[in-house]
């Protein structure tokens, strides 16, 4: 990757931002134009993200590629030379995450076209959110990183509060409050690092060259871990997740569970692992412990849920637990697994929410025991659901397995007992998913749901995009693993055990 690709990275988050601005100028009655425009825009984003993913340069020995910087604030007060600059660049981890975002936003945009209530405003907020997400993944300047991180969070409140369902005000409020509380920790951590480094710069690459005091690292790492962990639904800061997901509209659930939660784990890698390696090594077992607790806790809680979205929400907690488990190992394989799991879970859970949304829009009911025999009524829907479910329970050949395998291997290297528990969690996952399958999909066709139709073509298209990603990652994970492992080996020297 070169600087031109770096400009592409900038454009990656400018496209949604400018699209949002442009949409503001479009009269909201121009529904078909809005649909066409968002389709084009999301497709361009998808192509760009795919290009960025593919153009990752394996020959490069630098940690970040495609670096492109525009100075902004320099030499003013405490801000030193090149203090704040719009600096973008990616490593393999970010490349994978950008591709994930590209996929999910394409699918999310397509399913959102059926929204009837204020579709223009919905897309404006959604695209601002996406701009934040792309920017956070690409940004190498902590100031802008945090700015875009917040940009990715804030539209969520309105999106859930306005377009959500069930207890939307409660869900939106809870989600926002907890995430913003987490952001405060990240914010303070960023400024502590900034002050401690005494470089007068927010440049991540520069800050990463500093050897921070060990005690300082041990002190600051939990701030980042908890702050980002809140967004990643880390136990015990997960409470927003089921409620938030349950009340969010389809595309927002997809983006949120699919991408935004990964911002949290990504933040731990970017800030925690790269800036504070010793702190990360010190707190690794703690992270692993929280991870395994979350994995078990989420899975066992999901056994008891009857609301489909709540169940998926708890399942997300469980899967994000795997991510933290992998991160906590602090080994190349473990972190690779965590990043893979981020991708795998992102695509899979997006598919879940898409499907739940497709059904809920017709039935306005998500209570699992209410349904029966949907496989006969909605065969395509059921097949997609089963694919997502099987990926979720870690069936080999689908995305979940590859990721979980790496995590398990990483954990087994250090703590076989925790590894055993993690493997057991996969069985519990199978239990709740299969219980749900046998109740909802199988069994006699219930006449109550005679009016349910199978998925529309738009939904099929976006579900196919996601399902293909699941299969692709599951069968041929090398493109991801090569990039991720390469970056970890270059970028996180502490993990080279």
């Amino acid at each position: 990757m070169n600087e031109i690709d770096g400009m592409l990275l900038v454009s990656l988050f400018l496209i949604p931002l400018l699209s949002a601005v442009f949409l503001m100028l479009v009269p909201s009655r121009e529904r078909s134009f809005i649909i066409g425009f968002t389709g084009l825009s999301s497709f361009v984003m998808f192509i760009f993200s795919l290009y960025i993913f593919l153009s990752y340069d394996f020959s490069s020995t630098d940690q970040f590629q495609g670096i492109f910087a525009i100075p902004w604030v320099s030499d003013i007060g405490i801000i030193g030379l090149n203090g704040i600059q719009l600096k973008v660049g990616i490593d393999g981890i970010a490349a994978a995450m950008i591709l994930l975002t590209g996929i999910v936003i394409l699918a999310g945009t397509i399913v959102s076209w059926k929204i009837t209530y204020r579709i223009k405003d919905f897309f404006i907020l959604l695209y601002i959110l996406v701009a934040g997400v792309f920017g956070t993944f690409a940004m190498l300047d902590l100031f802008f990183w945090f700015l875009l991180y917040e940009t990715a969070l804030l539209p969520m409140y309105l999106l859930i509060g306005v377009w959500g369902s069930t207890r939307k005000e409660y869900g939106a409020m809870k989600l926002m409050m907890m995430l913003v509380a987490g952001s405060i920790l990240i914010f303070s951590a960023i400024f502590m690092i900034f002050t401690e480094a005494q470089l007068g710069s927010f440049d991540l690459e520069l800050l990463a060259t500093v050897d921070y005091n060990r005690n300082f690292q041990i002190l600051v790492f939990p701030l980042i871990a908890i702050g980002c962990g809140t967004l990643g639904a880390m136990f015990p800061f997960h409470a927003w997740s089921p409620d938030g997901h349950a009340s969010a509209p389809t595309a927002v659930s997809m983006l949120h569970a699919g991408v935004l939660m990964k911002l949290g784990a990504f933040g731990i890698i970017r800030l925690g692992f790269q800036l504070l390696p010793e702190g990360a090594a010190y707190w690794g077992p703690g992270l692993m412990f929280l991870g395994i607790v979350a994995a078990l806790y989420g899975a066992v809680s999901a056994l008891k849920q009857t609301d489909l979205k709540l169940m998926t929400g708890f399942s997300s907690i469980s899967h994000m637990g795997y991510v933290f488990l992998g991160l906590g190992t602090y080994t190349v394989i473990g972190i690779s697994g965590a990043v893979l799991q981020m991708f795998a879970h992102g695509v899979m859970t997006a598919l879940f929410f898409l499907l739940i949304g497709a059904m809920y829009d017709q039935s306005h009911n998500r209570d699992i025991p209410n349904f029966s025999g949907l496989a006969t009524k909605m065969p395509v829907w059921s097949i997609f659901f089963v694919i997502a479910g099987l990926a979720s329970l870690g069936l080999p050949g689908l995305s979940g397995f590859v990721a979980e395998l790496h995590i398990f291997i990483g954990v087994f290297q250090a703590y076989p007992i925790i590894g055993g528990l993690a493997v057991l969690t996969a069985a519990i996952t199978a239990t709740y998913l299969l219980r749900m399958f046998s109740t909802m999909f199988f069994g006699p066709v219930s006449s109550k749901w005679d009016k349910l139709n199978d998925m529309t073509y738009l939904e099929r298209v976006s579900a196919t995009i996601l399902a293909l990603s699941i299969l692709f990652l599951g069968l041929w994970p090398s493109p991801w693993i090569d990039r991720i492992a390469d970056s970890i080996q270059i970028g996180i020297p502490g993990a080279l055990m």
Partner: protein, 640 residues
Amino acid sequence: MGLFSVIGMQQAWLLTIVPIFGFLIVALFGKRIPRQGDWIIAAVGIFCLFASISIIADFQSFFHGHGFEPNGANVLSFEWINIPNYLLIEYSTFVDSITIVMLFVVSLVGLMVVIYSIGYMQGEVRYHWYFSLLAFFLAAMFTLVTTGNLLQLYLAWEAVGLGSYLLIGFYWEKQSAAEAAKKAFITTRIGDVGLLIGILLLWRASGTFDIQTIIGLAEASYFDSTYLTISMIFLFFGAVGKSAQFPLHVWLPDAMEGPTPVSALIHAATMVVAGVYLVSRMLPIYELIPVAQNLILIIGLITALLAATMGLVSQDIKRVLAYSTVSQLGYMFVALGVGSLSAAMFHLFTHAFFKALLFLGSGSVIHATHKQEISSLGALKNKMPITFLTFTIGALSLAGIPPLAGFWSKDEILLYTGEFGSVFYGLLLFAALLTAIYSTRLVIMIFFGKPKDSEAYEHAHESPKIMNIPLIILAIFATVSGFFIFPFVGQLFGFDDGFMGIVYLYHPHVFHLEFTTMITAISISLLGVLLGYFYWFYEDGRRANNASKWAPEIYNLFLNKYYIDNFYQAFINKFVLGLASIIAWFDDKIVNRSGIDGSAQILNYVGYRLKFLQTGKIPNYVLMMSVGILLFSFILLINY
């Protein structure tokens, strides 16, 4: 042999790829293809049989004298995941003697079942879906048996589980089928947890997934012995789940909810023997650790006995056969437990044919009468002569009547168990007796006596040819496959030591006739058949009824499957769901209500209290402001 030389051992991957394509084509476009694409799957089945035979032929050409040395020709691998210096996972195929036995069994039974299904499934809804799943299952099964590394084995292991799940739940409109599918998948999944833990433990110590490398390392005492024992027991746990051994045997009888041909293929001949295959594959390691091997022996023995007693009282044809399968799998594990790979593989080989035959025969009966309960069948022998004949061959083979196949293989197991210890030998003989009794019972209840359900009887007719041909072919195999034990048969195919020499690479056993064992076995089998005849043939089985009344406790114990299912159900309901309730309660009350909402409410309350500071009186504000100014000025004063 020129025709067969196209596909060698290195091309074993074709066995995965071709069925997968068959699956994809039929699953996606099946509805638009003439005959819903069943002919595609049949072609796939024929190809697989052809490929298997040509691989066997290739194998034979690498077979020199008394042994087969694994070499490059039987291995193919490419990197699937590679993190340099950290992790290497390959896709690899490996063909050796165990593989070729499995290949032949899977491809032959598979083809028979596919052909049979064309008749049996005629007119079903989701016809194409059924056939595509068969292809999927075959692909997974072939991957499983040709794999060279443990991780790929796990992949295929799970994939066959998925195939089994989808096929058991094929009639998903029936709630019982859905439940059975769920039960099968979850139960085997619990075993798979052990398998994966075992694999990862082995990886942790050795850094590789390659089976032959691990075996080599183990033989070179690379592993700590306790560690190895634990890992191998975990690995065996996977086999327990998949092969329906005690205590995870509960899923197999329920799995009979699936279409009957599926039961023949998956739940008798192929998938359920995956555990046997796994243990066979790893047997060189198990032989190094007596603890694990004894465990295998004991589990096998318990299963063989328990399942046989349950089979004795079950009222459903397919369930009787399922219990019989469980029991026979127990036999195979006993053989592995006493260290006789050849006996286990031989029994696997013969069992696959006669059990598939029995299942397909029962399918034929069910197809004709639409009844599964043996209490409503009877006197069908004249109505369905071919089914009757083939079924009886299968049952006698199962009972161990010479010269049918089952006799020879069971005899081998008994022989080696006898060498191992007389207690085991005695118990196994008892199981053999029970086997003979219930196979006789089954035949008598279905084909003899008076028709108990006149409607079913009137309705009964012989099955179409497409179903009968597989029955006949399998009956032939059920008869002759036992003769593979004689060295001259093996020599006929170019293997010097016959079947025993092929399978057991490490210490080849040569078959010899052990007359004491043989006569004991024959007499036990005949005794069993006579007892069955005596109890069920006369007076419409009044004696059998009396026998069940004679000891109702035991009868009920058998009938209720030793209450193991009930125990599991109670465990899940009380313990697992209880735990889930506790955690859900914890999450709701402690984390959400108290933790999150609680802190929000505290903030709310504090805010409510604090708002009264906002008096609206300007002097108050000024006062506050001045206090602030004062504080700041004091700070300045102290600092300067």
